[in-house]
């Protein structure tokens, strides 16, 4: 059992989510003889290069054949194995969409999908390797749970939770190596329950994946302008934590932040729920604006999509100005009970 400590958090951050996941896969294999890791030629990229040697009976590599990956994983799950299937997020979700729909959604076979390089992190390999529609695709299929952990520690938490979860799920991994750390100590994680990372009263920042760390930085920046931000880590995008959203009805502005196309992602999920309410804040959707970005390194890509901390801060400030939400004084933006 992996523990969340400062030291571990540092190690997981260094490895990045996709290599951290390998540690968990090996641990699960050791603990559970019925555990199987299936991949389509991507074991090496998931910190699992030695998995096949250590657990040959619990390893399946179907080669570069993602449709077959889903079928094989579902067939094994059906026969009583506990299958986690992983490869690049975009190939996993896009190439095998119908297979996921039929075997996981419709037949409810509890395979857990792990998509590496969610969002922009492997954008230097061109848009083919960016997963920017995956949340929309997976969220549209009934019975699938969709999770995007904030950092390595939360990935660990999510993996344990998914192991115990009977239904099918999609786990989206974001960021590269040296991911920012959000959690350095134990905390309560439950599928479908958002985590409040910071209390505030004016603006609610709602983020998933590595965007959660960025949201904390944005909140700190906005604090300098006297804006008090609540930061919500919406690690589970489906089912959405509606109670957490009920709690921000009175806010002036809600900001959703994600490395995903604007259509169909976290922002869309929040909008769907909030739109039916009598009282709700204005929403600002920070996302990729419905174009395939030019291939570039991760940091540059974030910038070209307007998703760096300073850009997002600016955009939120501008919106606050439009809405008349800027406070008179910059003092007193912190409120009681917040955590840093």
């Amino acid at each position: 059992m992996q523990e969340i400590t400062r030291k571990n958090a540092r190690i997981w951050s260094m490895l990045g989510m996709r290599r951290t996941v390998g540690i968990l896969l090996k641990e699960f294999a050791k603990e559970d003889r019925a555990f199987v890791f299936a991949t389509a030629d991507m074991a090496r990229y998931m910190g699992a290069e030695d998995f096949s040697e250590t657990f040959p009976d619990q390893f399946v590599d179907v080669g570069i054949a993602e449709q077959n990956l889903i079928g094989v994983a579902a067939g094994m799950q059906k026969e009583g194995f506990h299958v986690f299937a992983g490869t690049y997020a975009t190939f996993l979700t896009a190439r095998a969409l119908d297979q996921i729909r039929v075997s996981l959604g419709y037949m409810k076979l509890g395979v857990k999908l792990i998509g590496i390089s969610g969002g922009l992190s492997d954008g230097n390999f061109s848009p083919t390797h960016m997963a920017l529609e995956d949340i929309a695709d997976m969220r549209a299929i009934p019975n699938l749970t969709v999770i995007s952990p904030a950092d390595g520690a939360e990935l660990v938490k999510a993996m344990y939770a998914l192991r115990a979860h009977p239904g099918p799920a999609y786990l989206r991994l974001t960021g590269r190596a040296n991911t920012p750390v959000v959690y350095t100590q134990e905390y309560d994680f439950a599928i479908g329950r958002a985590v409040c990372l910071r209390e505030g009263r004016d603006v609610a920042l709602i983020a998933a994946g590595t965007m959660a760390a960025a949201a904390l930085n944005v909140a700190e920046e906005l604090c300098k302008s006297g804006i008090s931000c609540k930061v919500m880590n919406m690690h589970t995008i489906k089912p959405l934590d509606e109670a957490a959203l009920d709690a921000i009805e009175e806010f002036g502005l809600a900001v959703t932040m994600e490395e995903h196309m604007r259509a169909g992602g976290l922002g869309s999920a929040v909008a769907e729920y909030m739109a039916q309410k009598e009282k709700r804040p204005v929403q600002l959707m920070l996302a990729v604006e419905d174009v395939y970005p030019q291939s570039a390194e991760y940091e540059q890509l974030l910038e070209s999509c307007g998703l760096t901390v300073s850009q997002m801060t600016e955009r939120i400030l501008k919106k606050c100005r439009e809405l008349g939400l800027l406070p008179e004084t910059t003092a007193n933006c912190r409120i009681k009970g917040e955590r840093k």
Binding site: F91, A140, P142, G265, Q283, V291
Partner: protein, 325 residues
């Protein structure tokens, strides 16, 4: 190209949306334009393409039951300067070849027009594997893709011609089967991205797409009997969204989006994404399939069971209006 009239409307309604595009519009287009192709994955005759197959065998291609290849071959032909229509059942078209669509049509903008037939529950007893209610969500998330869902066969005809002229990928989502209700009986201006007001009313705005528009009109009539004045906006283009028309809805206390599609990711979500960013906005209710696989049956039965007919819509709207005031 023919013009819409009472007579053509009646004739095409009998053929349904698919029959009108595949049996009327496409044969004309292939006749008129030598750079136009039609491809299918084993659904030539079923789709009503017999005329094309006989008259233009050189520009008809059946790739067999192989949807990924369908998209690839279509893109290859398009890259060579052709306008290519590709058709099969909506769910297999959009899901089986999804990454090919993303890569060739979205990313490389191949000039391919996807005609997804029998979307929603129109496959009736064929069951959930053949139902398509995620297609708007997944097509809408792909950049450069235009998404259209015509109200009736006449509009499907116009949409097909628009797609022919439009330079870029288009997904046309076809609803219903044969003998579909008629919404338009006379010529009107059809332009992509421009919604059509079909009925005025001050109390609530019904925003519908595809085959549901006819039901929304019928529901509005029923609501009138209960003293509720419902406007009907037909949103045939889901992407790009007509935000001017939505802006015009912001004065209403309540808008209701209606679609034969999941409440996740479709028209309802597109509208919610728009409204939520505005300061002044109505309360929105999304009528659609409640994120579940359903109990199969005939098309009318499944729609009824899921509240997707005039009765279901009017009930839901009535309840929402009374609780909202």
């Amino acid at each position: 190209m023919q013009t819409l009239s009472r007579k053509t409307a009646r004739m095409w309604s009998r053929l349904g949306q698919r029959g009108t595009i595949c049996g009327v519009a496409l044969p004309e287009m292939l006749e008129e334009r030598s750079d136009c192709y039609i491809l299918t994955a084993d659904l030539g005759t079923t789709s009503g393409l017999s005329r094309v197959m006989q008259q233009q065998p050189e520009r008809f291609v059946n790739v067999g039951i192989a949807e990924q290849n369908l998209i690839g071959v279509a893109a290859g032909l398009a890259f060579e300067g052709n306008v290519v229509f590709a058709t099969t059942f909506a769910t297999f078209l959009t899901m089986r070849g999804y990454e090919q669509i993303r890569h060739n049509l979205g990313y490389q903008k191949a000039n391919v027009k996807l005609i997804g037939s029998a979307a929603g529950f129109a496959m009736g007893m064929f069951g959930n594997s053949h139902y398509s209610y995620e297609d708007i969500a997944i097509m809408r998330s792909i950049p450069n893709m235009m998404v259209i869902s015509p109200a009736d066969a006449g509009e499907a005809y116009l949409a097909a011609y628009m797609a022919l002229e439009h330079d870029g990928p288009v997904y046309i989502r076809l609803s219903g089967g044969l003998n579909a209700p008629v919404v338009y009986t006379e010529p009107y201006a059809f332009a992509p991205g421009r919604a059509v007001w079909l009925r005025e009313g001050k109390d609530v705005a019904l925003i519908a797409t595809g085959g549901m528009t006819a039901d929304a009109l019928e529901a509005a009539k029923r609501l009138e009997a209960d003293g509720i004045q419902a406007a009907v906006l037909h949103m045939h283009t889901i992407k790009p969204l007509d935000t001017d028309a939505l802006y015009a809805c912001s004065g209403y206390g309540l808008v209701v989006t209606i679609e034969e599609h999941s409440v996740i990711g479709g028209l309802g979500s597109a509208a919610a994404e728009y409204f939520m960013e505005q300061e002044r906005k109505p309360r929105q209710i999304r009528i659609g399939i409640q994120d579940t696989f359903v109990r199969p049956g005939g098309h009318a039965y499944v729609r009824q069971e899921n509240g997707l007919d005039a009765a279901g819509i009017s009930q839901r709207v009535k309840a929402a209006v009374s609780e909202g005031v």
